[in-house]
Symmetry: C2
Subunit: 134 residues, 2 copies
DNA sequence: TTTTAAGTCTATAAACAATATAGACATGAG
DNA sequence: CTCATGTCTATATTGTTTATAGACTTAAAA
């Protein structure tokens, strides 16, 4: 489970939105500056998060983005799965994104990576955005 | 820690060599066929493993590859670090391959990925090739 | 009603990594 | 000598990542 830079940006941006949950929407430009994320890239990330229902947008002047749900209800696992796909180290150890890979030939080897997937999933599913607002 | 196909091949090939540790060296061709690994790709993988001291080679007719150490002394972590690099999900949570990444801006977030790295490292460092010989 | 500050959408560029494939060469057993 | 093996380096192919660009739409406020 290697995290892309895009996932890192997405998590930072969502934690930023969490800080003003219930208040005014945040502008892309402001989130971009506060977290040092390239603005045009952040636009794409927010669009993707919006498509998946994690944020809502408001157009026009005074527009911006807000979380679509309380920070407690958005987990790290959900965001990383959305942006990067499988949490498992190998496709054949993945539940949500299973695919055949060579390592299946050795069942004990495969089992190790399934156990790692279980530990990682459990941890990332147990942590929500609310855990990262200072 | 996403495993590349190359790492999967390397692990399968090394377990194969483990099965005949102490016996005749194994030919690339045979390892290739037994594990369904492209032969020319496997050549490169063995060269890399040899460079790192995990296998020894014998040239000429009756040549081939053998483990350079007992299977108990080669861990999954060593091989994966050699082929794929960091075990950590983000560069800034890596000990062996540290680099700055955006997620450092949120220390609690970074801490989660350090904890995951610790769990994963511990597991992969505790498992050696001998654990996978049937 | 016009202006302007916002989000939307789609294309594409640049760099890099993953996954091989190719072929000329070196070595050593028989 | 021959031939089965490993060695070395180059290159091809494809996909992914990380953006950047620009024309378009929307809505608040003057």
């Amino acid at each position: 489970m290697r995290l892309s830079r895009k996932s890192e940006y997405a998590l930072l941006a969502l934690v930023d939105l969490s800080r003003q949950y219930g208040k005014e929407p945040a502008k892309i430009m402001d989130v971009s500056i506060r977290n040092d994320i390239p603005k045009k890239y952040l636009e794409q990330i927010f669009l993707q998060l919006k498509g998946a229902g994690y944020v809502r947008s408001f157009r026009g002047a005074n527009g911006g983005y807000s979380l679509a749900k309380p920070p407690e209800e958005i987990t790290l696992a959900q965001i990383i799965r959305l942006i990067d796909g499988p949490l498992a180290s190998v496709g054949s150890a993945s539940l949500y994104y299973f695919e055949h890979t060579p390592i299946e030939k050795n069942k004990k080897l495969l089992q190790v990576f399934k156990e790692i997937r279980d530990e990682v999933s459990e941890k990332l599913e147990s942590m929500s955005l609310s855990d990262f607002v200072d």
